[in-house]
Symmetry: C2
DNA sequence: CTCATTAGTTTCCTAAATGAAACTACTTTC
DNA sequence: GAAAGTAGTTTCATTTAGGAAACTAATGAG
């Protein structure tokens, strides 16, 4: 008789596993947390502001990541009727529900570095 | 005069940003949270157990991810002196420090699905 | 001697992520 | 009219992630 999964087979675990997959799909990538973190620090940032704040990102990735985040309702995009058009990006209320995750990850990253290198800074 | 980053330039933010990068480097990928989550449910699982429990993973990815996790001190690997050798994987104490992150992500994933599809299940 | 089991490794391949640089399009300033 | 600033898009290339299938190596059962 063939052995099957036992630990992960119950409904509660399946729901959890799917939830983790869902979340990772939305949040994976090199830049999402940095963009979201920046938007939690200063609300209403323009494209060029974000390009300056998020160190290392290029226009293509920033543009693509902003689109992804907007599609997933985590940020909003507002075109302003200014002389050269400006666009404001802002974290949504739903996007703010990610703050606990971002905080936990930042906290853990600091603990990890301390554990590996034996220093807090 | 050229504009520079202001929001993310202070020391506190830089530390946070580096922490998030560190954490993401260790935790990114399709399988790490699923493997770790499984190891939190049942401690001391063997390679074939994990292969069965983590639905969809293949031997190559499982082997590679287990090596990564072990290198980062999140799990331990113990070779047992049995007839066909068996290997036990277990989450470390330090690895358990990830439980709050995994819980937050699972919780958020459920909320995300509810927000998008309007249902809890 | 053959088959099954354990724990992987190796090879080959495709798809996705990321990046640098150039380009578009519009407006204002000099 | 040229330069600079807005917000991107497009092209081309490289790197990384992920996966299927075959293979290794050791042991034990029949």
């Amino acid at each position: 008789m063939k052995k099957e999964a036992v630990l992960n087979s119950n409904q509660h675990c399946q729901t959890r596993i799917r939830a983790i997959s869902d979340a990772m799909e939305v949040l994976s990538g090199k830049w999402k947390f940095h963009i979201l973190g920046t938007l939690t620090r200063g609300d209403k940032l323009r494209f060029m502001d974000l390009l300056r704040e998020v160190e290392g990102i290029g226009t293509k990735m920033l543009s693509k990541e902003l689109q992804d985040l907007e599609m997933n309702h985590l940020i909003s995009r507002t075109v302003l009727n200014t002389k050269p058009v400006t666009v404001e990006y802002e974290i949504t209320e739903f996007g703010k529900s990610l703050i606990p995750i971002i905080d936990e990850i930042a906290k853990w990253g600091i603990a990890y570095r301390a554990f590996i290198y034996g220093k807090t800074d």
